[in-house]
């Protein structure tokens, strides 16, 4: 715990001095920025009707800069792949969960699932969307895991993997299909943009939720001896 173990006091003071200079420089740079700058908000509002949703953040995430979101789902999946490559699930403890956890999770989990669906739907017009809904879903999943629930053996292999890749796959499939129709990757025609975005977000929500829960579990399922 003691930070002095590995570093001499001279090093610490030197580091603090360097960091203070750096902070000062950054603060100076920051304060030199103009007081008013609208960035890209103008372009966003201009093109908002074409995007298929009313919430500008969702429009940016799922339409204007959808490619970033696509890659970021790849990052999430990659983290899971990495965690799974490192080892198997730690052994579950045998003690039963306490009364409070049991009853509370019984109450909370359905509410959380409902909340997640709502967040997914409302993301088109108010703050919300795939990631927010996915996180809430993951919270429900974590509660489940904490009560000692385990995924059915039969579902642990291919079905689980399908669910995990669903978000990324649907995203990519939509993009490629659009390319087959002569448009660019992920270029939604304004008429179906809303529907496509909802489709992608739905798949993404499920994938994100399950991926986060799997990350929480910390290892790949046992039934990997195919």
């Amino acid at each position: 715990m003691n930070p002095d173990n590995n570093n001499s006091t001279l090093f610490r003071y030197l580091l603090i001095a360097v960091l203070i200079t750096m902070t000062a420089g950054l603060v100076y740079a920051l304060l030199s920025l103009p007081l008013l700058a609208s960035g890209l908000s103008f372009q966003v509002t201009q093109n908002l009707q074409l995007s298929g949703v009313e919430n500008p953040v969702t429009a940016v995430l799922l339409n204007f800069r959808a490619y970033d979101t696509f890659l970021e789902m790849g990052v999430l999946l990659l983290a899971l792949l990495a965690v799974w490559s490192l080892g198997t699930l730690p052994k579950q403890r045998e003690t039963a969960p306490g009364e409070v956890l049991n009853s509370l999770s019984g109450l909370l989990i359905p509410i959380l699932v409902l909340m997640a669906s709502y967040l997914l739907w409302v993301g088109a017009s108010a703050p919300g969307g795939a990631f927010q809904a996915g996180s809430v879903l993951a919270a429900a999943g974590v509660l489940l895991i904490l009560t000692g629930w385990q995924l059915n053996e039969k579902l642990q292999g291919l079905p689980l993997r399908f669910a995990l890749v669903a978000g990324l796959s649907i995203f990519m499939a939509v993009g490629v299909v659009l390319m087959l129709f002569g448009r660019r990757f992920l270029e939604y025609p304004p008429s179906v943009a809303a529907a496509l975005i909802l489709l992608i977000e739905a798949a993404a929500t499920v994938s994100i939720g399950i991926t986060l829960v799997a990350l929480f579990s910390g290892g790949r399922p046992e039934s990997e001896q195919q």
Partner: protein, 469 residues
Amino acid sequence: MVILLPIVAALSCFLWPGRSIWIGLINTFTIVLSVAGLSLQVVEQGAGRYAVGGWEAPLGIALVSDGLSLLMLMVTAVVGLAISVYSSCYFNQDKARHFWPLWMLLWAALNALFLSADIFNIYVTLELMGLAAVALVALAGGKNSLGAAMRYLLVSLLGSLFYLLGVVLLYHSFGTVDMSLLAQRLESSPAVWAAMGLMTSGLLLKTALFPLHFWLPPAHGNAPAPVSALLSALVVKASFYILLRLWLEVFPVASFEAGQLLGLLGAAAVLWGGVLALRQTRLKLMIAYSTVMQIGYLFLAFPLASIAGWKAAVYLLLSHALAKTAMFMAAGNILLYEGHDRIAELDRVAQRLPMTLGAFALAGVSLMGLPPSGGFIGKWLLLEAAIRSGQWWWGIVLIAGGLLTGAYVFKVIGFAFTQSNLPHESRAVPIGMEWAALFMAMLAIGLGFIAPWILSIMDTGSPFGVATR
């Protein structure tokens, strides 16, 4: 598109782990084909720009394929091909099912990075690449590789955050994250200086330039051999590529002093890395320190700030990628064969694994910069640029580096001919691995012969700016 194919591959490898190797190999070929297709298109039609999602910058993200991106994609494809072939023999079934999805995602990240013209998008691809690389390092298991992977992860995240803070400052100064728009709108200001400093530092950390190189030898030395090859050849080059792009396109106001500083650090890297490489007792660690040294060469182009200098650096980058891959593959072969990689005990490798040793020697030739290899062309161009701009002292560093490289390459080759006194068991090395190593080494030499063609590709889209003399 070259980015989507590896992702498809990764997903399918994940879904059907039993058949990973086949899926991986087949996809490797398709990716190589698509890169070839893209190259033809660029060579014929010039640089291309693709607005993803139909939204042009600044609102959307643009992909750009000019000469520099193309060369990076090509070298990635070539190295990727060799690595895929090599790895199909290297990993046992268990590890292979984890290796392939990770490797395919790494390839996707690299391709996405080289094509991107949007600095925030580059951040995402950088993270994708970094996480994949860390996972691949940890694949070897064992406390050395896990510790190295942990250190690599922390370093990678630190570098990315520095970079991101720079991106933040740039966006909030100019309202865009697209590189060509930034180039147009850029004006010198404290925020820009801060951003430049931050982004350069972050990328230097990720490229392992002295003195920020401390994480590289454990990571590259302890990873499985094909992973070490990937890391040394491609991953550290990716952050260098970004640095190059930023300096060329976005920060032409860079000061003379900053360039000199980078050049000095590069020179230090060459000398420090070279000396430490000589002192290593394990082959893979030696090769890792050699990477530290060769990266130093790349930074010698910064103080020169001339088109010839940049081209020379890129040429060195390409030939190093090929040669280092060959070297690490050779090391992997030796490791498999002997069960260890202690240099002093390389018992008659020359007789028993002639192809492997040939690969190592040829790769060494390129690294040393002897004619007619790719390394020679790169060094020659750099020397020329240095003399032309009147800063001939960098040339001395180049020559000294060549001597040091020669020293440690010959040390290994020397030991490979001698007979060790300890008996040991040897295991057969799959022929695919040996061929892959030799192929890469021959390519490194071959790069010296096709210099005019490569140099003309570099000019496509004028990534280095238009010549003023």
